[in-house]
Symmetry: D3
Subunit: 337 residues, 6 copies
């Protein structure tokens, strides 16, 4: 089976044990993750071959980050080891009415300083059928944006499906260009996008038509009109009850047709980081394995994302069978012997 | 006060800390337990003298397992140290809609290879008033089944009450005999059994009469008819909401009379392993200490089992006073200074 | 800004990790706290200068306890290092229907044996605007009661606001005097008190008037009549659902006017110790910073206390901005990046 | 085989992990030990039946302490559970030129407050062949001294061998009597004593004769003259190189004959606490199992003590075979498969 | 560069933290290793492509074991996932004169039950230049011995260098054939062997000629005479001072020429498991990268093995540059910034 | 007593537990340190009032770093909280012949980006008698160099003693100026310097006169000639045996007189980071408290530094009494009760 390729930054995540505050920490748990690499790793757990392209500093931290994904079966051979520092983030895990909190320390990382010419996309995408990227990558630096552009162009050229999680984070765009100028061209090359109403408005000035109750559908219609390459728009709808109680549904706009799942309640939430990445990886898996049955892919994606909230770390360490078990309604957490 | 004696295998339990998956584990928490020995240990915590007979490998793991119960006041003097390996199980603790999961590694253990003649039951049961066993033991090996048979016969001969948790686990029966052939004779020697409708159908072909809503009672009536020695049938009714939320009630069929408790909600579930063992140990304690008042024994058993779900490990580490505190309706977890 | 001064004993708290029982503990987590010093430490986190006066043994444990508060910015220069032992308490953290449990080991501590003349209150209170104490302190020993008396008198003399958490714990009063004889004089010197209906009855024989539904207000009216110096009476109303689910509201009787907040649900409760101390520290902060707006101070106090239940340790490690975030209704624990 | 009985206080030991200082500790490792109970526990590991009599507070800490020894096979049935507090000590483990350090917190423990009449020594010593006590016990309180006296008298009456580790600790004697007044009577009842030249001088005014090089022998001769019941005097000679490097030899004066072992070097020292207790337990074991061959008993005792320095905790967790392995010269720590 | 292929069993290693005894363990550290796979993993760290063929149970433990090596860059694509259990071993880490100790629990593992036809050696060895196996593999079961035979034959057929660590462990050979019957044929197919004088005598009846001081050389001469395919015989000479102090030298007999390194002292030994595997991986690396310069390869191998003793786990996690640093005499452990 | 003031960067130190390699780390121990602030903190432990001036990012990491020193009694009121990131370093702790290793991640820290005008040195040095800085600070950035210059000038103006650890680290000087241009002016303002022969040559081109054996003295003479303000030059002479065995002596050139201590052997080395900082803090303490007795100050400094090697973390957590204990020759690590 042809592989799915992702591109983006992988960071070290440092978090105090349990619910301790950052200022209380005498030791920190180590994980590694990135919004796109998490998708590759989750796909590999589901049984779908996946590769990741990225850039790490040429030191022990870079190697440890890369090995973390190699361990999970992600093909890391197209990663480059050059530069000085690995991006970090410190995660304080909240509880109940106290939200989790992230302190980023990712500026000037090896990935931010990559040279787009280091990546030979025709080579990287040779045996691929899908390319996935997130809106975080072009936000990091001009060169990262350029590499994203190169990857998308190569994928289009090679007839490979492209998906993106547009994921607009205002305060990431610091290098002198605006998301509003950079993103449209990139999104124009995508077949599938994860996009919320907020993202659509902030990035593309798309607002749901007034008076329409199906705001998501209205947004999707306009998005597709503007970017005709896009065929599916997906999103999760979260009704966060507390840091320990999440309720999520999956939404899909598929060339005019709208699908929505019933919600899952997750109590307690073990780890919410990567919930969106697990959703898109579930969707890609479902799309590729269920004959492009949109509702089934959406159901799979949403169940996968629900499960992710019970897994420690950024990556959804679940098998396809475990996701199907949830899809079939086994949500009471019965002991498996 | 005369002791309660249990017989069966004790295993080492290895579980990743917190909610980590087995494949994430860099270290494993060690516990020890067995469906019958857990009853002895819980009884000892409640203040009821208890002894356990079993077989351990003659190595450090066997000694550590035995010492774990010795520490809790269980008389282990009738245990035998012969053989090669201690049975193990790996427990991954789930959360919310992800269930806990057990990987067994118990084949060919020292206990499975025991020689029934190593156990002098007249000696072992000398100061005993009660013998308890579970359906797991005769499932392990022919020799374990024979030792169980010997124990029951000795108990009957000595006029000792016998109880069993029939606990049918299909995939345990691997040594060439069928549970359906072995269990009836053993259960026939029991005064008290824990049995669900599913177990009764699978093991004895007993199905609740059609049309009767009180399926449990119907099952019990037939069970008692078939095995006239049985006087009490007990069970817990679980309405599992999620891996983190359990609701349990206790059921008792006592020579024609039916009793049922109101349910307890346990949120969060700290550790569900041994929930059934704590129920039977609570019932034995209640029966012996409350003048065989069936409803009171059932109430005590159910409260004990509810408490177990908040205790780490297989064994219910609670005092009789703590169980009574719950029985009296103190279920809001007030701080005790 | 002038500082708030607290006086009282600081103890070492030793608790098994997670929900382990005390008898299961192979290692114990170390924290430090005291009902009054917790108030000083929480105020310092909120940005309000605070100092604590107390007495520690002249050994490593005393120094570690003092340093724990010094780290949080509490001025500890008026603490005395004399005597033999640091008071300890062992905390077992419950879950669901099993309550947490404390085993005290605080008798004969350095603080209990303090000499009141070691504390020069005019010096200690020089730059202070507020003195806070709790009913635990005069319960410990005659000399601790005397030092409390001295502090209150000095504060009155210097025109400093005095608050008290009357916090009656019957089994603490062991040194030959009765709370009913000692406390009235001390409470008479206070401007603000935390007092429940139970405390008022036990300590002062004050019972809400029969037939009145607003029992708290009735109690407060009588309390104020008896101790005319008291202007505000505050309390939290807890509806404990389980050891893991708390619901709290704040109550305030302010010179005839009654205020009450809507309740906060905290699920799960991470650490309930110090919930009351965080309430009073929130109230003091609110009173001093919000132009003595009683409702706003009460709202701040209650939100602060709700947040405390999500923080490990005795001390409320939250900033004023974090409390305000809750006050403004952000209680769904959204991830902050 | 008849049992060995010990009497004395068992304390909880709390120590920072690794080489952290006490003031750095955020969690503390829990162990339990006592100079006499350690002997019982080590004997039980060696295969020699042993029982301990003592007194614990009637709370979780007391139970945990008792269970710690019960787990190791020590018969704890003659222990009394009355009183308020468990004695504690905080152990900071040094390294290299920084010595380990103990902060005691044992005053006013349940053991110190025991009532001698709680112990029926004829009952306790019924199946015993040996009684062992240490000079710490009579130092704790008048009642502990009286119970020691009672035990020795009963042992003499019953023809049981009595041994003592005189172990003089000046600062323990706080209850109004002097060691010099109390100890002689107690030591007079002993057959075997552990005693150093320093102890002999401090307690009994015995000084090695001037000019004699064999100071230990000279001391022993006088000791035996003064207390004719004493037949063997033993001691370890330590040449402490650093907190991480110990060199020990065993000395024995046996009714005029002097024996001395070659030294063992222990690098690194894992845990030095209980090194002396492991020596005496080794000697008792050797004496009882090797036909009272003094040199062989001494060799066994010294090897046992050497091994203890590699074991974490107060208690020597080694089998007789492991000690013999060392005695036979296997000191290079070869891997055993 | 063509890869090195290894074949053999990988086990889970469970060890108590620090120097705790197995019976003291409340949690166990998890590692994975195997005498041959350790060589592959070490080579991958050195920069030499390596693959491993083996068999794992089709469960989480099997996957975790495989992922452990995949993480380190070992190509695991030729591993088979079939069967029930993963072999385990429990490692107690000694100190000073107390040796480390292993309790094996590896009987009846998935590897032991492998079917030799599952392995297509022509496929597995396609891009290989070297095959390495150890004497443990044919000891496990007849089918494992057959698979080893198949592998060696394929390698010979393909002109690939074959090395073996003969590593005779008497008590492993339990399946009905004797090492003395099985091993000669296998060793006959090797170019390089690790063999001690003891192994040579036990397996092949080869004894150093009487009167010759160079016993190793004498053994090698006879070995080469008997097995003409063998060109190099290597070994480490250990002078174990204690469990914490090792002294090692490397020996090489290369077609008549004898080489020996000066010794390395390792104090303290952090982890001795895998010391031999790191030696052979160092030799293979050296042989392949240093133009088959025997002395340089031996020096590299010995330095690699010395470094391994400072690394936790079975696998030598060092780079070629780090080994060269030692080879160049930098043995004083200077801080590298 | 007037305080000692230090100035410089404080970093978070992240290190794998025990001797694990960085790539093995699943959690990291947190410490904080800086070459100058370590001196302030060590002085505060010795009883000497100390303050530190520096700059932290305005986030949780900055606050935690500052609180770490505040806890130890260092006056942190002159620290500024502005900027984005806290400098980090990852420390891998070696053993035996494997050295420890540091991966720095300190570029572009809040401290590096400080504005010298934020520091009012007349205010900061108001109650000071001593200013200490290290050569690391002017290496970080031009503004840090300027702030150092300002501090020294203010100190000279106020008649305060100035000391420096010249500590030349070539790869730190990245901002466009050369150490050789910046350092002479700064060192010219110092009374006491720590300087090795290597530093003197690299920074000032000073080489010991040819043929002279007392190379250190020769270097000092020239240094003092060049910088007449310098009165004392001190250094430690390390003979590193291995990562686990250090041997150190103290050297002092005091206005023509040369002093040298006997060496201390430290086995094992627990933590070598901060060994030099503990030496200078010991010297400052000794100089200020022992009437400027140079030999005694040097002895104290060297003993302090030896002790530091047994303490975890960057900071020397020892009291003056503990250092004196070593000075008096108590180096065998006897247990202190």
């Amino acid at each position: 089976m042809k592989k799915v390729v992702t591109f983006g930054e992988i960071m070290m995540r440092l978090s105090p044990p349990l619910n301790l505050r950052l200022t209380q920490a005498n030791n920190l748990d180590v994980n590694y993750g990135g919004g796109d690499a998490n998708v590759a790793a989750a796909l590999a757990q589901l049984g779908q071959p996946a590769a990741h392209a990225g850039c790490f500093p040429d030191n022990d931290l870079g190697r440890a980050a890369s090995q973390h994904f190699q361990r999970l079966g992600v093909d890391m051979q197209h990663c480059v080891f050059r530069g000085e520092r690995l991006g970090l983030y410190f995660l304080e895990v909240g509880a109940s009415l106290r939200g989790s909190k992230i302190v980023y320390d990712r500026a000037d990382s090896a990935f931010a300083n990559l040279d787009p010419t280091w990546f030979n996309w025709d080579e990287i995408l040779k045996d691929a059928q899908w390319l996935h990227w997130t809106g975080i990558t072009p936000a990091i630096s001009a060169s990262a944006a350029q590499a994203t552009r190169d990857a998308i162009q190569a994928a289009r050229r090679l007839g490979i499906t492209v998906s993106a999680d547009v994921n607009y984070r205002r305060n990431l765009w610091q290098y002198g260009q605006k998301a509003q100028d950079v993103m449209p061209e990139l999104v124009a090359g995508c077949d599938v996008v994860v996009c919320t109403e907020g993202d659509a408005e902030d990035l593309f000035g798309i607002r749901p038509e007034e008076g329409r109750e199906d705001r998501f559908v209205s947004m999707c219609e306009q998005l597709q009109q503007r970017f005709p390459q896009i065929k599916q728009v997906i999103a999760t709808r979260r009704e966060t009850q507390s840091a320990s109680h999440e309720r999520i549904r999956g939404l899909l706009y598929d060339q005019g047709a709208y699908h929505e799942t019933t919600p899952y309640d997750i109590v307690p939430v073990v780890d919410r980081i990567g919930g969106g990445d697990s959703f898109i990886s579930g969707f890609i898996y479902g799309w590729l394995h269920f004959a492009q049955d949109p509702a089934r892919a959406l159901g799979f994606a949403t169940a996968a994302s629900a499960l992710k909230h019970t897994i420690v770390g950024d990556i959804n360490l679940v098998t396809a069978a475990e996701v199907e078990h949830i899809v079939q309604g086994n949500v009471t957490g019965r002991l498996l012997r």
